[in-house]
């Protein structure tokens, strides 16, 4: 019971956060210097904000493109859910956009198994997006197993960063 309430709360907070994150980009046409632009005088005539529906827009709009997993696990925890909810909101806003979810593992496993585990993680993220109403046909998955680490150390901190799924928009 308690657990259910907690989950609901986390879910709500996740949604709230997601809501916050989307705010800055509700005014994309306005070329005011976003936090990402530097202070250099802009000779460029184009608007500074990311183009709506672009990968940059996706990154600017969502809580994160990455969710992390425990060793050998592939469950989507409440923090992951918040992130995926923000991704789902973006996908709902751009119904013609598609995404690929990459599944990754840390280096401390055997190659074949990690390919399978990465696929499982990417599918866990996909399934959660689908449960939020995103059409499954808009989401593809690809496993890189342990082939593409982002953290290069051989330690727990690095491994934790590498056990991930990453959502990337298909442009």
């Amino acid at each position: 019971m308690d657990r259910k309430i907690l989950t609901t709360l986390l879910l709500a907070s996740g949604l709230a956060l997601a809501g916050c994150a989307t705010k800055p980009k509700e005014l994309p046409p306005q070329p005011t210097g976003a936090t990402t632009t530097t202070t250099t005088n802009p000779p460029v005539t184009q608007p500074m904000g990311p183009m709506p529906g672009s990968q940059a827009d996706f990154i600017a709009s969502v809580l994160g493109d990455t969710i992390l997993f425990d060793t050998d696990r592939y469950n989507v925890d409440s923090e992951d859910q918040g992130i995926l909810q923000s991704q789902a909101q973006w996908l709902a806003r751009y119904p013609d956009k598609r995404v690929t979810i990459e599944g990754h593992c840390d280096e401390r496993g055997t190659r074949d198994y990690n390919l399978a585990l990465g696929e499982r993680r990417a599918n866990a993220a996909k399934n959660y997006l689908v449960s939020l109403g995103i059409d499954a046909s808009r989401i593809t998955t690809v496993s890189y197993g342990k082939e593409r680490p982002i953290a290069l150390g051989s330690d727990e901190v690095s491994w934790a960063k590498n056990r991930r799924s990453v959502t990337i928009t298909v442009q």
Binding site: Y74, R108, R111, D112, Y113, L117, R120, N123, G145, L152
Partner: protein, 465 residues
């Protein structure tokens, strides 16, 4: 005399070895090169023993240059038959030495012998050098360029011949004659099946840890005749030679997702192992080369399938909600050992080749992965994960588990054709650099293979016919 040979080498035509003709004097004045001692270090702690190799392992074997009856130009390494004779002896020396099996002395530390001595060794000279065994041979070039290589093994103490073989090879295959000779010596002295005349497919790795370039490559068992098959633009992984060496099944990200391709070495063409929807990985050939096992993920769930190598309908062999992956046939093709996490963690299971009667066999604590059935059938090599990753072996019923290595990360064992040596790859902590290593079934003679760049995922094929 006209010795008869047992059948061998349809590819390398068999040569009838007469005594190489000869009117030659005795051995040149012996340069006092140390014969029987290359100061080998003492055993570095073995972890268990299978059969005691020590009796034949320390044998001093002299391998002088193979003389020729006539110095002729050849397309083989050396440019002429005289230089080739030295190269042949060097390859044999390298085979016997690098695998830590014997204590050979090669042609660069021995006096030359005359052509006429090949079939009539100067035993007293070799006794004086403390050689226990003597490998002599000759090389001749025929007008069509083909080479005839004779190979003789003598027991110096007894002053008698133990074995002889002859091979006719094309110049570009000269190393195979040397490997066959080394195989003859090894088999005659150890009682084991040969393995030198075989090839290895593997993944050549270059570049930083987060951007590793991974190319499919092949080489002979001693690292010679190295060749890159793919250019590295698409990540290639986990190759497996077909038993006849005509094809390689391997994983490639060619079209963005991991799929198994079957690459035809002769034509350079490749085909998908299956048109199935999901990503496919972990290819394995059946011992007769007629079937390929692969693992495919559907909606995140991975199972093992079998498909005819010539193409056709796939049969699903496993059906658990967990990850079932890999698979390695018993030599008789009746059973398959594979890996599954259906119990909650990676463990090793055995099933009948049709997928029935799946049973877990690994109960060692930790995780057990990448099982590979020995070509002899009596052992299964695997990766044991308990903190570090180590290579271990067990019986097909899951008994008598023994570690063969002890390092930070060793994985993916593959067997020598005779089931005496296990190759694997070792990853360095932090840098992520990889290298191919091998170790005897006894846990001894661990050594790193020389590859042009880093290497992983070795797959050793059978002895060539």
């Amino acid at each position: 005399m006209k010795p008869a040979f047992a059948a061998l080498l349809p590819a390398l035509a068999l040569a009838a070895l007469g005594s190489p003709l000869a009117a030659q004097q005795a051995v040149k004045p012996a340069t006092p090169a140390a014969a029987a001692s290359t100061a080998a270090p003492a055993d570095e702690g073995l972890t268990g023993s299978v059969t005691d190799e020590s009796e034949w392992q320390d044998l001093g074997i002299a391998i002088p240059t193979f003389p020729t009856n006539e110095m002729l130009p050849t397309a083989a390494d050396g440019g002429n038959t005289e230089a080739l004779g030295r190269n042949l002896a060097r390859v044999i020396y390298g085979d016997l030495k690098n695998n830590g099996l014997f204590k050979p002395v090669g042609p660069d530390a021995l006096p030359a012998i005359a052509y006429g001595e090949v079939a009539a060794p100067a035993f007293p000279n070799w006794r004086a050098r403390s050689a226990e065994m003597l490998v002599q041979g000759f090389v001749k070039s025929a007008p069509d360029g083909r080479l005839t290589v004779g190979c003789y093994l003598y027991d110096v103490a007894l002053g008698s011949e133990l074995a002889r073989q002859g091979y006719v090879v094309k110049p570009e295959e000269w190393r195979r004659a040397a490997h066959k000779c080394a195989d003859m010596v090894y088999s005659r002295l150890s009682g084991e099946s040969p393995f030198f005349d075989s090839k290895i497919a593997y993944i050549a790795e270059t570049g930083p840890k987060d951007h590793r370039r991974k190319q499919l490559a092949i080489m002979d068992s001693d690292g010679a005749n190295h060749r890159f098959i793919t250019n590295g633009q698409a990540t290639a992984l986990t190759p497996r030679y077909s038993p006849d060496y005509s094809k390689i099944a391997y994983l490639s990200y060619l079209n963005g997702t991991p799929r198994i391709y079957v690459y035809d070495i002769g034509t350079g063409r490749q085909t998908l192992v299956t048109e199935g929807k999901g990503p496919t990985f972990a290819p394995r050939w059946s011992p007769d080369g007629k079937s390929i096992l692969y693992s495919m993920a559907i909606a995140g769930n991975t199972d093992i399938y079998r498909v005819p190598a010539a193409g056709g309908t796939s049969v699903k062999l496993t059906d658990s909600p967990g990850i079932d992956v890999g698979g390695s046939y018993s030599p008789d093709g009746q059973k398959i050992v594979f890996e599954s996490d259906r119990s909650g963690s990676q463990q090793v299971y055995v099933m009948n080749a049709d997928g029935t009667n799946q049973k877990r066999i690994s109960f060692f604590g930790g995780r057990s992965a990448t099982p590979e059935w020995s070509p002899r059938g009596d052992q299964i090599a695997f990766t044991h994960i308990a903190g570090n990753l180590r290579i271990a072996v067990m019986t097909p019923s899951g008994g008598e588990m023994r570690y063969l290595t002890d390092s930070w990360q060793d994985e993916a064992p593959t067997w020598s054709p005779n089931g005496r040596i296990v190759q694997f790859f070792r990853t360095a902590k932090s840098t992520g650099r990889t290298a191919i290593w091998q170790v005897d079934l006894t846990g001894r003679n661990e050594r790193r293979l020389n590859t042009p760049v880093d290497g992983s995922d070795p797959a050793w094929g059978p002895v060539l016919p």
